[in-house]
């Protein structure tokens, strides 16, 4: 693997930008640039030359890796030791980096069972808006010294600091995996999901699309065979391909220009009766919706089921693709942003106006 440490140069770029008072757009593979608001910044900082594994001891179930490392390279290195990232990050074409995967905070179909990006993020090394290199957390699972400034970097879209290194918790690859497909209409599938969510048992993916319920089982071969016999259904031949197409949005559901919305709701919300085509993932907790409906309507719909709505793709006029925050919560966001990035250098406005 390309092992390249340009920490000093990256730090200098931030210091220069700070001295000039000129904001920076942080980019890795730019494969997630479509997420969020457009960043207007006179300077661009490219992380891709800062790459490679810093420390990987498979028996510790943890890895420290530089932010510009290609996701694909990292996943292959882990697979060679029969391990994987618990949060199953999506890759949207192009060469996604681990820094971008952490910063965007997106998790794949495994999320309900193996946690979000933040759950795996044990530590970070970052450059703050003053150009200082800071380290929080580490490779150990338990660490409560100081405020947890690592996990908030997941999903902050680079607005709180430049990620130089991330330390991630890993999981062993499952010994075996089977995906079952059952024909079920939406209501029946949602009822199945509701029952499965309350019981233990080897699941690592439950999604419904086009009248088909997909159940991914993982574990010891005998255990998943027994569970598969209980649940019934056809075995999917290219199961890995199916879950990848869902995660990376290459499935036909995601084709076309109709705006794509991501609604995260309480999993047992049942049929939320969305104004458009729906793909259900996360055992009912994540609903992908294709709809031209006005943003406010989709936001109200998500909120009425305890959640929030993000305009994922599409060109509707909108303040921010992300769900609006209550004023008190937004005030805390502004204050935290100022604490880490006093001049507002990093990806200004990427998430919300003024952040």
């Amino acid at each position: 693997m390309q092992n390249n440490d340009i920490e000093k140069q990256l730090q200098e770029q931030v210091k220069d930008a700070a001295a000039a008072g000129e904001p920076l757009r942080i980019r890795g593979g730019d494969s997630r640039a479509f997420l969020g608001r457009a960043v207007e910044a006179p300077r661009t900082l490219d992380t891709r030359d800062h790459s490679g594994i810093v420390l990987y001891e498979p028996s510790e179930l943890a890895i420290t890796v530089r932010g510009g490392t290609p996701l694909r390279v990292l996943i292959d290195a882990l697979a060679a030791e029969h391990q994987e990232l618990p949060f199953e990050p999506p890759a949207f074409g192009g060469e996604s980096t681990i820094g971008g995967a952490v910063a965007s905070g997106l998790a794949g179909p495994r999320r309900p069972w193996n946690g979000a990006v933040r759950d795996a993020l044990l530590g970070v090394k970052l450059v703050n808006g003053k150009g200082e290199v800071l380290q929080f957390g580490g490779q150990v699972m338990k660490n409560v010294a100081g405020y947890d400034l690592s996990r908030p970097m997941a999903g902050a879209h680079g607005t709180l600091g430049l990620l130089l290194e991330v330390s991630l918790k890993l999981k062993p690859l499952p010994p075996a995996s089977v995906t079952l497909v059952r024909e079920e209409d939406k209501r029946a599938a949602l009822e199945t999901m509701r029952q499965l969510y309350q019981r233990p048992g080897n699941l690592s993916g439950v999604a419904w699309v086009d009248g088909l319920l997909h159940l991914r089982l993982e574990g010891y071969p005998e255990a998943i065979e027994a569970r598969a016999a209980e649940l019934g259904g056809e075995r999917l031949d290219d199961a890995a391909g199916f879950w990848r197409s869902l995660n990376n949005q290459t499935h036909p559901f995601f084709a076309g220009d109709t705006p794509l919305w991501r609604l995260v709701v309480k999993p047992a919300s049942g049929d939320i009766d969305p104004p458009g085509k729906e793909l259900i993932d996360w055992i009912g907790g994540q609903r992908w919706i294709r709809s031209d409906e006005i943003p406010q309507a989709l936001r109200r719909l998500a909120a009425s089921h305890g959640g929030h709505a993000t305009r994922f793709r599409g060109t509707t006029e909108i303040d921010s693709p992300f769900h609006p925050l209550e004023p008190g919560l937004m005030a805390l966001h502004r204050n935290l942003k100022r604490a880490l990035d006093p001049q507002g250098l990093f990806n200004p406005g990427r998430m919300y106006e003024g952040l």
């Binding site: 028996s59 999320r111 150990v140 409560v144 080897n202 574990g219 995260v264 047992a268 994540q286």
Partner: protein, 496 residues
């Protein structure tokens, strides 16, 4: 060990005006100001340090609590939130010029939602009470600190508490979905969401483990998990502690993630056996306790794999508990390890470092040497699965200077944890106890960043001030006593 601040001198009339303001918003009997009423609040689980607060407020309602915080904010009076008071690092240690805000009356379970596997509770609810309430639905709350019969969930969030099942099921932060806080100026703000993620920054992660310094936690929604079909506990004695450590690494490397994986050394296992008669083999040098859970087939497969690894690593007589009573007996010794050690010495001081597992042998050897140097016995209990080490330093507080000696030994042990890439606290928090060691783990820019985050939430600094993060001034003084790796820390600070 003292908070890192100088208490304010409050003139008698200002104090009277402040207490009168509190009396106007609190019902009769919920504001304590008399010495004998304040006495029970003078310490938390770090009982070597005691301080009587100016007053204790025990609000009944959220509206009262918000008014109390607003009054403190207006009068610049520090607020120390307190749950069950079982914390081990002095997080709830009172401030003489401040009040204790007790959450004891916020003790209701508000909702159990089995379909969404959520429980919404007030902060004063005991950890174990959540699992008890969820039990009829076949669900439970996973984080289980050993004090779970007494500790409150609000305190668990404030400290980001652990327990013996963290490797597989995570810490408090991984099992909490939403927290409502009252900010330093008395506003109610919701962090996180009842769903798998929320919009904006992950302030929920930040509030976990923030030790009452960023906000007052007033409502918590936790994730419940379905009980595994089967649970098995293996007991594996070793005649060499390093071999037990190797077995731990081999289990993880084999792709098994045990629900719990604990190690006890000879001293602690003997003390525990004498105390609760768990059936531990007292001739062993070290004992591994390994819990496996899942379906019947999962547990059978993992039991076979783990048994072989343990045997190959040199475990002599492995015992397997399948029924609930025997499992409980196997765990009883471990869960009672601290009080058991408390029976064999007048006092003990519990440390809480975390290390990468592979350095266990090296760190234990170092602890053994330090123990010899200081002339104090140290027992070791180890959450081996997640690398969290609890050395228990035995001493006698009635011997002049012995507490200080135990504290110095403890500090040196934590330094050893930092040196191998670990941390000074895995689950007990910094509080007042580990302020000096924070100076070793973080440099001045990092500590300054922490202070900036504190100010972002609490510009006036009224929430549990002087805890958690040391001032650079304190670190400079600590550094003058304690030169780390031959380098003077904080070289950029002026000296005097």
């Amino acid at each position: 060990m003292q908070p890192d601040r100088t208490p304010a001198t409050i003139p008698a009339d200002a104090r009277r005006r402040f207490l009168d303001a509190l009396r106007r918003v609190l019902p009769e009997g919920t504001l304590l100001t008399e010495a004998e009423e304040l006495h029970p609040y003078e310490c938390d689980g770090l009982s070597a340090y005691r301080q009587v607060p100016m007053a204790v407020a025990l609000p009944d309602t959220l509206a009262q609590l918000q008014q109390v915080v607003r009054i403190c904010h207006h009068h610049d009076i520090p607020v120390v939130a307190r749950g069950a008071g079982t914390g081990l690092s002095g997080g709830a240690y009172p401030l003489e010029d401040g009040i204790i805000l007790s959450l004891a009356r916020f003790n209701r379970i508000l909702d159990i939602d089995p379909a969404n596997r959520l429980a919404t509770v007030e902060p004063g609810v005991r950890n174990l009470a959540i699992s008890e309430a969820a039990e009829p639905h076949g669900l439970y709350y996973a984080p289980d600190p050993s004090s779970q019969i007494a500790c409150s969930i609000g305190g668990n969030v404030a400290e980001n508490s652990g327990g013996v099942h963290c490797l597989k099921y995570g810490l408090t932060v991984n099992n909490v979905r939403q927290v409502k806080i009252v900010t330093a100026d008395g506003e109610l703000v919701t962090l996180g969401s009842e769903t798998f993620d929320g919009p904006g920054y992950d302030l929920l992660a930040l509030i976990n483990g923030s030790e009452g310094m960023l906000g007052i936690i007033v409502e918590i929604t936790v994730l419940l998990r379905p009980r595994a079909t089967r649970t098995t506990v293996l007991l594996a004695p070793f005649d060499d502690i390093a071999r037990a450590g190797d077995a731990v690494a081999a289990i993880i490397a084999a792709g098994v993630v045990p629900a719990g994986l604990e190690m006890m050394d000879k001293l602690t296992l003997e003390a525990a056996e004498a105390f609760v008669h768990a059936g531990y083999p007292t001739d062993a040098e070290a004992l591994l306790i390994c819990e496996l859970d899942g379906s019947d087939i999962d547990v059978d497969a993992e039991t076979a794999a783990v048994t072989k690894i343990l045997r190959d690593a040199g475990a002599s007589d492995i015992r397997v508990a399948d029924d609930a009573a025997e499992r409980a007996r196997f765990w009883a010794g471990r869960k009672a390890a601290f009080p058991a050690v408390g029976r064999i010495a007048p006092d003990y001081y519990c440390m809480d470092g975390t290390i990468p597992r592979r350095h266990l042998g090296k760190v234990l050897e170092r602890i053994g040497k330090l123990s010899g140097q200081y002339g104090l016995t140290v027992g070791n209990v180890f959450h081996a699965g997640d690398g969290n080490l609890h050395p228990l330093i035995l001493f006698d507080a009635n011997q002049p200077g012995e507490l200080e000696k135990a504290e110095r030994l403890g500090g040196d042990i934590l330094e050893a944890c930092i040196e191998v890439g670990g941390t000074i606290t895995g689950e007990h928090g910094v509080g007042i106890e580990k302020l000096d060691q924070m100076c070793s783990q973080f440099d001045s820019a990092e500590l300054t960043q922490f202070h900036a985050v504190k100010a972002a939430f609490d510009p006036k600094g009224i929430l549990n001030p002087g805890k958690g993060v040391p001032t650079l001034h304190r670190c400079a003084e600590f550094g003058m006593m304690h030169v780390h790796h031959g380098e003077l820390p904080f070289p950029e600070l002026p000296r005097f």
